[in-house]
Symmetry: C2
Subunit: 374 residues, 2 copies
């Protein structure tokens, strides 16, 4: 009995358009998940996320455990009620922070220092399952070991072995845990850096544990784009067809489309909203730097073809002004635009796959964005 399943509606080469069925309902793939790190996508609320067309939002277990605490999220009704979000939600496990915060890792778990006050936060495969059970997203991720790249082979080997051992512990604990919501899914995570053999091994060991879906982790952490795609190509063939494949931490147009071409179904990344707050705007003609003086007197919208709230009412000149003087309104409005761009790209990809013209979309995206934009 699986909490979650992917139905493939159409394929075009290795690319797939699907529907993920969950206890809550369903969401179409390819899917991009905005990053709601601390219970909100920065500067946005859950109505904004509905408006841009997000279907799945990511919450960050490490941050939510520190503030307000997993038990507090549970007392306030779980992540959905807490954030006022009616769509799907997924929580990461804290594994990404093994890369970004360099905590101490041992065979049994990870010891972090709080980003707020330095206090100790211990995470084990079991406690990560429990915390995510309390937070109560639709999908939780196993605690994994994400190595920063480039890495020596022996570092990757340790990461793969620990990830596999922890995955088994998490799988067992998640099955037994009574505190978690009925129907909450659990995804395993494939590691292995950029080594194709380790990727294949990690995929096989993870799949053997029969997860509801599969994260592909340990990428977009310092390696060149071709190496990422090669590692992805070595991973995906080992994953079952009826489970979602989730490439963690990728959100740029070319990265998304190239990964979809290899058979990936869903993504998360904070880059579109972080870029927005720095004035980097995604448009149908490429990246626009709103801080450039040329936009100061420009009454045009960010992207003339965009359907978003921001493009419906405000000009480049206005948004540039607000960004320049540090008004939070700008962070929100440009984030709404960038998220709409990425979400619409996923919708276009889905349509192109269904209509068997995904290669043309892929070529068009590469044409605008260059073959390997980061």
């Amino acid at each position: 009995m699986s909490a979650l399943r992917l139905e493939v509606a159409a394929t075009d080469g290795a690319a797939r358009a699907g529907t993920v069925r969950t206890a809550r309902g369903s969401y179409p793939t390819p899917a991009f998940m905005p990053g709601g790190t601390r219970g909100a996508v920065k500067a946005l609320d859950s109505i904004d996320l509905e408006t841009v067309g997000a279907q799945v939002v990511l919450g960050n277990t490490y941050h939510l455990m520190l503030r307000p605490g997993a038990a507090t999220v549970a007392r306030l009704g779980g992540l959905h009620r807490f954030t006022g979000w009616t769509g799907h939600a997924l929580t990461d496990s804290g594994g990404y922070q093994v890369h970004s915060l360099r905590p101490s890792v041992d065979d049994d778990g990870v010891t972090f220092a709080s980003v707020y006050d330095g206090t100790r936060l211990r995470l084990t495969p079991e406690s990560a399952v429990e915390a995510q059970g309390l937070i109560g997203a639709d999908i939780q991720m196993v605690l994994d070991v994400c190595a920063t790249l480039p890495a020596e082979l022996n570092v990757l080997r340790v990461a793969v072995d620990r990830t596999a051992q922890w995955a088994e512990r998490a799988r067992r604990h998640h099955r037994r845990l009574e505190a978690r919501p009925e129907g909450q899914a659990l995804f395993g995570i494939v590691q292995g850096g950029t080594d194709p053999l380790l990727r294949a091994e990690s995929a096989q060991r993870t799949v053997a544990l029969e997860f509801d879906g599969y994260g592909i982790g340990g990428l977009s952490v310092g390696e060149p784009r071709p190496a990422l795609l090669e590692a992805l190509a070595a991973t995906v063939p080992h994953l079952p067809a009826d489970r979602p494949r989730y490439l963690m931490g990728v959100g740029d147009p070319v990265g998304l489309i190239e990964a979809v071409a290899l058979g990936v179904d869903q993504f998360d990344c904070v880059a579109p909203t972080r870029m927005a707050r720095h004035g980097s705007v995604l448009t149908r003609t490429g990246k626009l730097n709103l801080r450039n003086a040329v936009h100061a007197n420009d009454d045009a919208p960010l992207d003339a073809e965009c359907r978003c709230l921001t493009c419906s009412r405000w000009s480049r000149g206005y948004l540039r002004h607000l960004l320049g003087v540090g008004e939070p309104t700008a962070w929100r409005l440009v984030s709404i635009h960038n998220l709409t761009f990425v979400l619409d790209l996923m919708t276009e990809a889905r349509t192109a796959i269904v209509e068997q013209r995904f290669d043309a979309l892929r070529a068009a995206v590469a044409d605008v964005w260059g073959p390997n934009n980061p």
Copy 2:
């Protein structure tokens, strides 16, 4: 020929419910104007302002002249198109910054240093009219001299005389200026500190110049509340009945209601939104400090009787969490609530005046908020 007129729909004692007719349309009074200092009410957009029910928004000439510049606002279509705002707009003149920034003032005008880079900004009665003509709000204010209180009588005397001389220059220049929008109104400003005789004199000298409406300035700048109300009582009887009376810089519940009781029609203040960003919440049972730990696990809305977007979906516990970790989403959501509270209070005041029960509302507000809350 006046660009603007107030029609009194009902009075209850000195309190009035009215309709201000302008070249753009009309707005009901008593009216509260949120402060959109630099082209946006902090953390909000113009759709948010529509949603909360704002009818008039204030823009700040000093700040807009520095960034993005009055000419840029004009090139981008004027303040309404620039900010995407379809309601009424009013710009202050920079006179308030004579109090808040302590620039050098001479008989001819004011010399500011830019808050951004220290560069010199010169404002005269004429250039303030021209800048506000370019910015293009529905209503502009004359450049005045706002003295910080308490002040010696000779300081107030100089402020009153300069304000009167500058008002005459502004009136003349505004009549001749071709750059300003057709139908743009000009309000004079009464000064005089807390001295009743100076207030009466300033009111009479200002009214003699026949403005479209009258600001009551130089209050809420350090004096106790009873002194403010006394100065107001000395001013209002000298103002014509068919012109709006605008008390500048007041936005707390008791201050608003007590001023309406004395015959004031409109207000501006950044306090409701600034308080929101610091977790001070206006509710029907008084002020709520969201930073208080008692709210950490509270699933209730900020105010159970509130109609606002924030109260429709999010809890005290969630908003407290977002504020605590510095998420801009909280600034916006709590600002939406506080503005809704103040705007709804103005609507209640209007209804109470029409229904001849304003004294009961006044007593109820004093009962919740104390007689002289700042």
